[in-house]
Amino acid sequence: MPVVNFIHPSGKHSQVEFQSGNTLMETAVRASIPEIFADCGGVCVCSTCHVYVDQQWSDQLNPPNDMETELLTCVPDPTEFSRLSCQIKMTEDLDGMIVHLPAEQA
């Protein structure tokens, strides 16, 4: 099964299997990754599923839509690699993707 590699603020790694078709947020939440709150359940209204996609992988993702782009300006410490994980659909070619978790959510 394909995996995604979460890197916690502490530096610790969590390798999590994912199912194609699920979002990155769903994958994280089901694996009990504590840094992802996902308060709104994944409908792009809260920004608490914020992650930093690793530089090597960020180009492989579909770019954010307007709503996501706007919400990303509201997360603590946004960078050019910031994404809302509820808007990223996992596919086979993302096997091995590295995602950095933020220290805090909005």
């Binding site: 009990s32 308060d39 709104c40 209204v45 706007e70 919400l71 509201c74």
Partner: protein
């Protein structure tokens, strides 16, 4: 020292949050969570939208899968209704027997209000609260192509269902008893915007419509209004609000009114019992009075505070309220509590469907409706929280960055 046992009655958003937060904070005692429903604890918002269209299945609604409860040693008991609780002996009584607890969390939520009129026993009249309700509603809708659906109640659920049904190609009418939709929650400007939007989508909205009775043989066939108008229908959804499930608390002697009274740390009138979520009646400074907030945000944030309290680390619940409603192409987000506003300021562009309406009272923001304006909404939460005085001209100036009014980001 013996480890304590916490019993959570009610396995919805707030109950689940308490269980999850307890473990996250390192609570190592026993946690039992009891719910009346058969499913794993799940999120309700999609029940009026993607669940009805079939885009999401029931299993996708769970907050976590069953592994989570096992791994975190949270004993989840489904299909169990607690009939009575005794706060002297600390026992909860259900069909399966007695549950002992040291501390208790009452997260019993609310239930749909029924229209108490003649004919409300007829088949084809639906509520929407649970997965089971949603399944029945979906089955009823999928039954025939040309059915006429009438929604009674122009609040969030009613409007969201109206959008979902028109998306599915159904003929929909919506009856609202007051002068406008979402009357207590948003400004008139916002109500008007959505009434126009839904009307453009083919929804027939009738305001000042009071239902007198339902008529039909076995199934509902028409609704009779107080003014004599008769509305034919094949299926009805009543979405007229909720009642808090406080019976257990009341009977056990806890102080209740339109909800279970809690203090700023979610403690009820019994020091070893907390309550959180839809059923918790608390003093909310954003409302200026006691209130129950029926929202995901309140359930989550009160749940976190209640969990801390249960662990002896009292926190104060002081979050700015916020809420959202997805209606078709428009994301409506709200923050604060509307009340006696003396001024309304519009920011953005209403015809373009990208705007916010600020409700001001003595130049302080008490509430904000935002339509497809997520940044305005996020900043407004902080503005509501900070309760600072604002300059209306700055609010309505699209070039003025709201962030500059705040000392921290967003």
């Amino acid at each position: 020292m013996a480890k304590s046992n916490i019993l959570i009655i009610g396995s919805g958003q707030a109950g689940f949050q308490i269980a999850a937060s307890l473990r996250q904070r390192g609570f190592d005692g026993g946690i039992q969570m009891v719910g009346e429903e058969s499913s794993l604890p799940y999120q309700r918002p999609p029940l009026s939208k993607k669940f009805i269209t079939g885009e999401i299945e029931a299993s996708n609604l769970s907050f976590r899968n069953s592994d989570f409860f096992q791994e975190n040693d949270i004993e989840l008991i489904t299909d169990l209704r607690i009939e009575e609780i005794d706060l002297k002996t600390n026992i909860a009584l259900g069909k399966s027997g007695k549950l002992h607890f040291d501390k208790l969390a009452l997260t019993t939520g609310t239930r749909s209000r029924n229209l108490e009129v003649l004919g409300n026993h007829l088949s084809g009249i639906h509520n929407l609260r649970s997965i089971e309700d949603a399944k029945h509603l979906k089955a009823g809708i999928d039954l025939a192509n040309n059915i006429v659906i009438v929604i009674v109640g122009g609040g969030f659920i009613g409007l969201e269902i109206a959008t979902t049904l028109t998306k599915l190609g159904k003929k929909v009418s919506l009856l609202e008893s007051s002068t406008r939709v979402m009357t207590r929650a948003v400004s008139m400007i916002t109500s008007n915007f959505f009434e126009e939007y839904h009307a453009d989508n083919g929804v027939k909205i009738i305001t000042l419509a009071k239902v007198l009775e339902f008529r039909g043989k076995d199934a509902v066939e028409e609704i009779v209004l107080a003014d004599g108008r008769r509305i034919p229908c094949d299926l009805v959804l009543t979405s007229i609000g909720s009642l808090p499930n406080i019976e257990l608390a009341e009977y056990a002697g806890l102080k209740c009114a339109n909800g279970i009274y809690v203090d700023k740390s979610c403690v009820t009138s019994a020091s070893h019992v907390v309550s959180a979520g839809d059923c918790a009646l608390h003093f909310n400074r954003f409302a200026g009075h006691f209130i129950r907030l029926e929202s995901v945000q309140n359930a989550i944030d009160q749940g976190k505070v209640a969990a801390s309290t249960l662990m002896g680390e009292k926190q104060i619940y002081d979050s700015a309220p916020w809420f959202w409603s997805d209606q078709g192409t428009y994301k409506l987000q709200m923050t604060g509590i509307p009340g006696q506003a003396d001024q309304y300021v519009v920011r953005g562009n209403i015809p373009e469907g990208k705007f916010s309406v600020f409700h001001l009272k003595e130049q302080r923001i008490i509430s904000v409706d935002s339509v497809n304006s997520p940044v305005d909404h996020m900043r407004s939460r902080k503005l509501v929280y900070s309760n600072i005085q604002v300059n209306p001209f700055e609010l309505e100036d699209p070039n003025f960055d709201l962030q500059s009014l705040l000392s921290t980001t967003c």
